[in-house]
């Protein structure tokens, strides 16, 4: 009976998704104006895209709606009634739920506990696991996600952690979902599933605000689109009249064209740089692969298929129980990251927040961290050299939004990704292992990162690219390995069709 009540409550609340109007929203950090006089309104049940370059202020706008930060100026109305949202709690009480770019789950708790986090208080002090798990089962049914409620969230791949975030918002009966780049961490199939879920939610009356850098995805999904540029509102219009090109023009403010870089042929004499033989760790089995000088090898597969773990094992970051890695004929000491780095391997990890960046430290320090000895003398950092080097490399990845001395946490998500990339470009590596190279960057920066990868390869770097974005893998790689359940199960060449690779990755 209690469940029925809950259900009724949810249906009732969904039908009453409010019209949201924000006017004159402004936000500054020090003298940096991040948002300036932003005004827009979103109709109930609308799917509303928010687009703009890295650092345009999209996340800031969503965070203001979700109560994570407070605007300096401006007002907000729900169905014409002024409201003041100063905390996430306020936002939730108005049915607004923020699913942030950086996920905010508690890693030590189970999926179930995370989903119902903060809802316990509504039920007195006694927890009722049964009711929760029934409710959970229904949420899974609604969304089509496959999650073990007892799994510890910290052990899940990022893609599934995000599903947990979405369930958490739904469990709170959110009427307005603010999603900051939800698809950035998902692979094709999951993406489709998510877009499907979003559409279904919108049909039942939920309003969805979504930030994304994928133009086609946005155009195929949203009813209306808002474009921000340098913190200013440019347009809010029906998506129907727009094309990817017209959106980009408005985002960037000028005419641009982004060519897929030409991936040059690998010379037939190019020697093998990377030779991995039967590498086995807790997460991957019998990984054998070779990459030649100048070659780009792509690894495709589902989230959790062992792609990232393959890179970690090669880099010596995960303990291996068998097999070995050779770089230019020299065996790397198993489990030694330092030896791997010495041999010229670089790893750009999957998660910039957990594995990539030291958020509290300045941008420049982060970029210089993995190559400290190269710019030091007798253990002292040569600050001037470091500044110059960092400046150059920041420019080459188009890093914007903060001075090199500011904490990396102050950068927008896409710019953090660029900083992460810049870190391993200071000393061009012999082997580049890169996991989701363009997660969260805007299309201009993405094109730039792609051409950097291709250029590195052209200069002789052996590259292994992991990406959930099939187009990225297909567009960049000379050869493609497909992984499933921790093993390499198929191999394709550059001319493989999208469908072939998809089928081999996703079908059992």
């Amino acid at each position: 009976m209690a469940i029925q009540q809950l259900e009724k409550h949810e249906h009732a609340s969904r039908r009453t998704a409010p019209e949201i109007t924000v006017s004159g929203i402004g936000k500054r950090y020090g003298a940096t104006t991040v948002l300036k006089d932003v005004t827009l309104s979103v109709a109930p049940g609308e799917i509303h895209g928010i687009m703009g370059e890295n650092g345009a202020g999209k996340s800031t706008l969503l965070k203001i709606l979700g109560g994570a930060i407070m605007a300096d100026t401006g007002t907000m109305e729900l169905d014409g009634h002024p409201v003041r949202i100063t905390t996430p709690r306020d936002a939730i009480s108005h049915g607004i739920s923020l699913i942030s770019q950086e996920l905010a789950l508690i890693p030590n708790l189970s999926v179930l506990e995370n989903v119902f986090l903060g809802r316990w208080s509504n039920r007195g002090s006694l927890l009722s696991p049964n009711r929760d798990s029934e409710h959970f089962a229904r949420l899974l049914e609604d969304t089509g996600f496959e999650l073990d409620p007892r799994a510890t969230v910290g052990n899940l791949p990022i893609g599934q952690q995000q599903q947990v975030e979405i369930l958490k918002a739904l469990a709170r009966g959110a009427k307005v979902l603010c999603m900051d780049e939800p698809t950035a961490v998902l692979n094709e199939a999951e993406k489709e599933k998510l877009l499907h879920v979003i559409k279904r939610l919108a049909r039942t009356g939920t309003t969805v605000l979504i930030v994304s850098h994928y133009l086609e995805e946005v155009l195929g999904l949203v009813d209306r689109v808002t474009i921000l540029r340098d913190g200013q509102h440019i347009i809010t219009e029906d998506a129907a009249g727009h094309t990817p090109e017209s959106l980009v023009r408005l985002m960037v403010g000028r005419e641009v064209d982004f060519l897929v870089p030409d991936v040059p042929q690998v010379s037939s004499e190019a020697g093998t740089v990377v030779r991995v033989a039967e590498l086995t760790s807790a997460k991957v089995k019998d990984i054998s692969l070779e990459v030649r000088r100048g070659e780009i090898l792509g690894i495709a597969g589902l989230v959790g298929s062992g792609r990232s773990e393959t890179l970690l094992a090669i880099f010596g970051a995960d303990r291996t129980t068998g097999g070995h890695v050779e770089i230019n004929g020299r065996r790397i000491r198993p489990g030694s990251i330092r030896d791997a780095i010495k041999a010229g391997i670089a790893l750009i990890p999957e998660s910039r927040k957990e594995q990539g960046l030291v958020m509290s430290r300045p941008v420049a320090e982060n970029i210089a961290l993995s190559t400290l000895p190269a710019r030091s003398w007798a253990g002292f950092v040569r600050a001037q050299r470091e500044r110059t080097a960092v400046k150059d490399v920041s420019k080459s990845v188009d890093l914007r939004g903060a001075r090199p001395g500011q904490p990396v946490a102050n950068l927008s998500g896409g710019n953090q990704q660029k900083a992460l990339f810049a870190k391993w470009l200071l000393n061009p590596p012999a082997v580049l292992l890169v996991d989701e190279p363009t997660r969260g960057v805007d299309i201009a920066a993405k094109a730039r990162i792609h051409s950097i990868i291709v250029e590195l390869a052209a200069k002789g770097t052996a590259v292994i690219v992991v990406s959930s974005e099939l187009e990225e893998v297909l567009g960049l790689s000379h050869r493609i390995h497909v992984m499933r359940h921790g093993r390499i199960v198929a191999e394709f060449d550059r001319n493989a069709s999208r469908d072939e690779v998809m089928t081999s990755a996703f079908l059992k």
């Binding site: 020090g30 003298a31 930060i69 340098d230 780095i341 030291v358 253990g379 002292f380």
Partner: protein, 327 residues
């Protein structure tokens, strides 16, 4: 395209904000000093300043080491137990081999015990708070075993030179104060300018990112504990030199005063943030307050209340600023 329009205005504004926040604690110290200068006739005398620095020497050394530890993401609660064992060893070595050998031996024992503490914490992967607490109990026990629970002192004819650290030296400051200032500066430069310092910040800020950048996080922690042991031995040398003896229960609880000073200075207990000058300012605030209570003949019981309130204010401010800067 608009790189500059975004970046340029941020320069001035951010810097201004940062400065205010950064140096708030310095204004705090200045305010207390001004108050004492106006309300006592004795505060602003050279003699009192020599006294102030001498009083700050022991906590200053421990706080300098604690700064390295806390920034790298660990606590060292064993520092004063190490202090006791090393100064006892120093005194015993003095009895047999002379004062110089005694001091040298004390430093060696301190660094060694620090290394052992580090190895224990790193290899067992226990939380450093609990790990070093356990280690401190072991070391205190060790001190009792060595001395049989008694006070140890150098031979009477050695006493004069054993008390070197209380002698006036540079600018009339005691040798102990000079040692503390020198260590603060050296370790400050290590943090600020060396690759080792960078690694300390990185390990404390995000251990996994540091590891994936090729930093041996375990080695960094062991090194930091070793330095902590060395500083403890120096502090112990000064204390023993002052008292003319050493004993197993010496300096109990001062490790917490040192951590308090670090926190009051504004170094974040979360790791990855902070600076050496902050520890120094924190130590001076505590010392000046205690000095003030003496000069004003106030009841020193209230001194503890004031210190406690200060710590709370500092930590709360840290949390507030932290939240503000990430919001």
């Amino acid at each position: 395209m608009t790189t500059t329009t975004v970046a340029v205005p941020s320069t001035a504004g951010k810097k201004f904000n940062l400065n205010l926040k950064d140096f708030g604690i310095v204004f705090g110290l200045a305010a207390i000093m001004l108050f004492l200068a106006l309300n006592t006739g004795t505060f602003l005398t050279g003699r009192n300043f020599i006294n102030l620095f001498d009083q700050a020497a022991v906590v200053g050394l421990l706080a300098a080491a604690a700064t390295l530890c806390i920034i790298s993401g660990v606590f060292d609660l064993s520092s004063t137990a190490t202090l006791a064992v090393s100064s006892i060893s120093g005194v015993m070595l003095t009895q047999h081999f002379g004062v110089a050998a005694g001091f040298f031996g004390a430093l060696l024992v301190g660094a060694l015990l620090g290394t052992v503490t580090g190895l224990i914490v790193v290899s067992t992967k226990v939380n450093s708070f609990i790990g070093t607490l356990a280690v401190s109990i072991i070391y205190r026990g060790l001190a009792i075993v060595i001395t049989g629970g008694a006070i140890v002192a150098p031979l009477p004819e050695q006493l004069a030179s054993f008390q070197t650290w209380t002698w006036p030296s540079l600018f009339g400051l005691t040798a102990g104060s000079v040692l503390m200032l020198a260590m603060t500066i050296v370790l400050g430069i290590v943090l600020w300018r060396t690759t080792f310092g960078r690694r300390i910040y990185a390990v404390g800020g995000n251990q996994e990112a540091a590891r994936l950048s090729g930093i041996r996080t375990g080695s960094i922690h062991v090194a930091v504990f070793a330095i902590s042991g060395l500083c403890s031995a120096m502090a112990g040398m000064i204390l023993a030199s002052r008292a003319g003896s050493a004993q197993p229960a010496m300096a109990i609880g001062i490790e917490l005063t040192a951590i308090a000073a670090v926190v009051i200075g504004g170094t974040s207990i979360l790791g990855g943030q902070g600076a050496m000058w902050r520890a120094f300012v924190g130590v001076m605030i505590l010392t000046v307050i205690s000095n003030g209570f003496n000069l004003l003949h106030w009841d020193t019981t209230y001194q503890q209340v004031v210190t406690g309130v200060l710590i709370l204010v500092a930590v709360a401010a840290d949390g507030l600023f932290f939240r503000k800067s990430t919001r």
